[in-house]
């Protein structure tokens, strides 16, 4: 009531010139600002301390940053991540659609897959694939030539350490991605199916053109997390004697005992790769966010500014 009256008056009686031109004073946050300054100061001091501390051996860090072995490891880590994520996402999408299928058998198969691969340790899965030849010499019987010993040999070639690593990481990732994609598909309004069916669309086109692009908005943020944990998780493959980034650093410091500097080298590379991948994630999120509230707000505010 109290606020209403002055408003009504303002409508009838013109406000004075002084009141109209009076500057707007933004709310001040002294305590918040003080805390922010304090944090900045502490962080800066810590950074200077780290930079000046000789025991970090920054010279060693610099000399190994572009060492061939480190670079090879970094490339391998990136390849492992990209290949495993690609296969994981594709297979995950298939599993998600199977899981949501009306066919109970398809749905059960997907459930069982997800249950198994999420329920057992990745390390065990990796070692399992690595040793698959030993566990299943039977596979060899399918090959057209030779006795058991020869066949065992070719099975080993078939699943090289790298092959085992890719297989293990991809199949494991697919189980997690299946659940993420299923959540995304579930988040799309049911009426979107009705609308596209009423227009004569059906099947995979409906899925690819209407449902999945809308699911992407929900799928992307957790997928970004998956990519980044995969990037670092690939270090697990060192058990298969594959020299990824971390393992390469470990090999080098086991020779020269410069543990901390080499771990810093590895971390810097992980940070760089994470930064680049996050950049792409943001681009994708913006792409698939088109037409939804958040992006419109951004556009509107831009328009207002230019107006």
């Amino acid at each position: 009531m109290q606020t209403q009256k002055p408003l009504e008056q303002a409508g009838h009686v013109p406000a004075t010139a002084v009141e109209e031109s009076a500057p707007v004073i933004a709310l001040k946050h002294p305590v918040r600002n003080a805390i922010a300054v304090l944090i900045v100061v502490v962080a800066a001091l810590a950074a200077i301390d780290v930079a000046l501390n000789d025991r970090y051996h920054w010279d060693v860090v610099a000399s190994y940053l572009f060492a061939p072995r480190i670079l090879t490891g970094a490339v391998l880590t990136l390849v492992l991540t990209l290949v495993s994520m690609s296969v994981g996402i594709s297979l995950g999408a298939v599993l998600a659609i199977m899981r949501l299928s009306e066919n109970p058998i398809l749905s059960m198969i997907a459930r069982a897959y997800i249950w198994f691969f999420r329920g057992t340790p990745l390390l065990v899965q990796l070692i399992f694939w690595y040793n698959i030849a030993a566990l299943y010499p039977v596979i060899a019987l399918g090959l057209p030539f030779g006795g058991p010993s020869m066949v065992l040999g070719s099975a080993n070639v078939l699943i090289s350490p790298l092959g085992a690593a890719l297989l293990g990481l991809s199949l494991n990732e697919a189980a997690y991605m299946a659940e993420i994609i299923r959540g995304g598909i579930g988040s799309v309004d049911r009426v979107q199916y009705d609308a596209s069916k009423a227009l004569g669309m059906s099947g995979s086109k409906l899925m690819r053109r209407i449902i999945l692009p809308q699911a992407m908005r929900v799928v992307l943020p957790p997928t970004g997390n998956q990519v980044i944990s995969m990037l670092k998780g690939t270090s697990l493959v060192s058990v298969l004697a594959i020299s990824d980034l971390l393992y390469s650093a470990q090999i080098i410091y086991s020779e020269n005992y410069q543990t901390i500097p080499l771990l810093i080298v590895a971390s810097l590379w992980y940070l760089l790769m994470t930064t680049i991948l996050s950049f792409f994630q943001e681009k994708l999120e913006r792409h698939y966010g088109r037409g939804f509230d958040s992006v419109i707000k951004r556009k509107r505010s831009r328009k207002v500014r230019s107006a």
Partner: protein
Amino acid sequence: MSTAMVEAKGVRKSYGNLEILKGIDLRVEHGSVTCLIGPSGSGKTTFLRCINHLEKINAGRLYVDGSLVGYEERNGRLHEMRDKATAASRRASGMVFQRFNLFPHMTIMGNIIEAPIQVQGRPRKEIIAEAQVLLDRVGLGDRGRSYPQELSGGQQQRVAIARALAMKPKLMLFDEPTSALDPELVGEVLDVMKDLAEEGMSMVVVTHELAFARQVADHVIFMDQGVVVESGPPSQVLDDPQHERTKAFLSKVL
């Protein structure tokens, strides 16, 4: 008897044990407008969705333009069609929903050309040109690059109508196309629908806009509790209802 645009014979539909449609019989002639009125929960939406097989019927026969919807009749039995065939048979009808249901991730132009491109496989250029004509016709010729969220409800509904028309349907189904709109936006959507009716489009419209029904409809059907209670020209059903239930409903709506 010539074939009707829509012909329903004893159409029944249940959800579990609950029977929603209890034997619907009706005929919609080519080029005519039929308005479906009735209290909430009477099965209007359900019936409309049966016409283009978004819902499967449990008994009876439903023909659109002379052919069965979603089923094939072989040796006196109905066989359900595969999804693809059902989708193809749906193309005879376009549907406009209460809540517009535009594709939020596509521009207005994208919304309109999507189905013709995906489904009809005609040249993209031709489809875009047609879409532009449709957009001009619903008064939104300059909004092709906007996203649905950037339009008002009335504008979105007009896009939804244009989107359905882009498939060149012979029959348009409207499910309360104006009841999600602010009162001042209702007129612009009804105007588009009136134009369509004048051009001779066959239409089935579920609506509470009795003035629209009176002005545009050739036929008004009053439904209650899953049956057709009364049907006839608007002057009869709306102005001189014979059944108590119709009278009671009309007195509440007016």
